[in-house]
Amino acid sequence: MMAKKSMVVERLRKAQMIECLSKGKRLDGRGLLDYRPIVINTEVIEKAEGSAKVSIGNTQVIAGVKVEVDEPFPDTPNEGLLIVNAEVLPLASPYTEPGPPDEDAIELARVVDRGIRASEMIDLSKLVLIEGEKVLAVYVDVNMLDLDGNLFDAASYAVVSALLTARIPKFTISDKGKVVKLNEFTKLPIKTIPISVTMAKIGDTLIVDPTYEEELVMDARVTLVIDSDGNLCAGQKGCSGALSFEQIKLACENAIVKSKEVREIIKRVTGYGEA
């Protein structure tokens, strides 16, 4: 996922970008805290219990939810399982190669997962079929299809939208204690809608929703996940630069503001909260 570029070009591009940002503008004309257009389509994969295709500008990702009956982890016998995986497909950019997820894809999956889990979006205690023995396992796989920056938010919105619209089978326990799948469906037990807001620090400026070009020159990346109550529930700083103490606080403020906008889009698209 690392682009090859000459050092000279890199420095020139960065200087130009910092110059532009110092005037409060970005190369694509957006304001510092503007998202690119966010387009979300749900129920795009009929064979999955839930699915969503999300684009943020030219970045495209797709997430699918599969539900299986499984055993709980020994240390959480009263909770269902939630497993988030991310793959950056080789078709997504000239810089991606086939193979098992690298550290970038693993970090991506784990940060998306952390946002869902820490916000308590899904009430995992309601996914238990037989305490300590059988629970629902919710697998969410998110594939990156076309890369133009800000995979963290795109992947997160796809996962959240797929979970919000998932139609999962109902189960009952037979007299013999066996789990039986019914031909009825229900929604996942949703408690909140966590929204990921990712910012890049370039020079001394924080911008929201970086493009691939902006990511190439950013000093640091920070992702904050905000729940429906406006609380922080997950965070991750990335890249080889640092943030000042003030910047981390500013990032929190930005995230709280922007998360509201995005949450409204997701609610509208998924119909969540409507009777």
């Binding site: 064979k47 495209q60 699918g64 497909l89 080789p90 000239p94 086939p98 796989d141 299809l145 076309d146």
Partner: protein, 242 residues
């Protein structure tokens, strides 16, 4: 075993024995790729992307007289009824190989010495015939990438269900039917580039199945052409074949 063809000669999805499923091809669906195409064939949803001609890594794999064609057919974990592990299965390894060998005869690889051309196919949703749909999409994506080609490659499966030869098997027919025979051809050159067979056919049935598959390919070829024309000439109207 349920009946797969009813008394009126109609199949489980209402098609006649020689009828294709609905098919839709779109060209240029990815920004980063040098060429790309998506295909929907029944419930199949597949994206193919082409990167190249490009430098080869590691270098010792480069061929001095032609381009190195590489191909990866991969199914998304959510593409199947039961979740599929993202690690490539033996089935995916074999299909990647036969797809590469189905595309290669159509490509003028000699025009791009010391380079590589990568074809990446992602099956977002799998239905019967995903490998032939993948070939159709991939050859369209190769055309979109501007790679010199002798012809488009068009794939179509044929099979035997309830004792009858049928075109373009869906998932149920693939799993419960007796025979699956996917082929791919270069229509204008009368050449077969993919041929696989699984299941018992008499020599006469084989001939009939083969002819039916050719007819299917002819129809799909038109849709490939239209999709390319739509992207490059802004029209989806069929243009008469030269």
């Amino acid at each position: 075993m349920r009946k797969l063809i009813d008394e009126n000669g109609l199949r489980v999805d209402g098609r006649r024995v020689d009828e294709l499923r609905p098919i839709k091809i779109e060209v240029g669906v990815l920004k980063n790729a040098n060429g790309s195409a998506s295909i929907e064939l029944g419930k199949n949803k597949i994206i193919a992307a082409v990167y190249g001609p490009k430098e080869v890594h590691p270098k010792h794999m480069a061929r001095p007289d032609r381009s190195l064609l590489r191909c990866r057919y991969h199914m998304s974990p959510f593409s199947t009824e039961t979740r599929k592990s993202p690690a490539p299965s033996r089935r995916e390894v074999e299909i990647s190989k036969v797809i590469r060998e189905a595309l290669e005869p159509a490509l003028i690889l000699e025009d791009y010495p010391r380079t590589a051309i990568d074809v990446y196919i992602e099956v977002l949703q799998a239905d019967g015939g995903s490998r032939v749909a993948s070939i159709t999409a991939a050859s369209t994506a190769l055309a979109d990438a501007g790679i010199n080609m002798r012809d488009l490659v068009t794939g179509c499966a044929v099979g035997k269900v309830d004792g009858q030869i049928v075109l373009d098997l869906n998932d149920i027919e693939d799993k419960e039917g007796e025979v699956d025979m996917p082929i791919a051809i270069m229509l204008n050159l009368n050449q077969i580039t993919l041929f696989q067979l699984e299941g018992i056919l008499t020599p006469e049935e084989f001939k009939k199945a083969f002819e039916m598959a050719l007819e299917g390919c002819k129809k799909i070829y038109q849709i490939q052409r239209e999709a390319l024309i739509k992207k490059y000439f802004g029209s989806s109207e069929p243009i008469p074949v030269e």
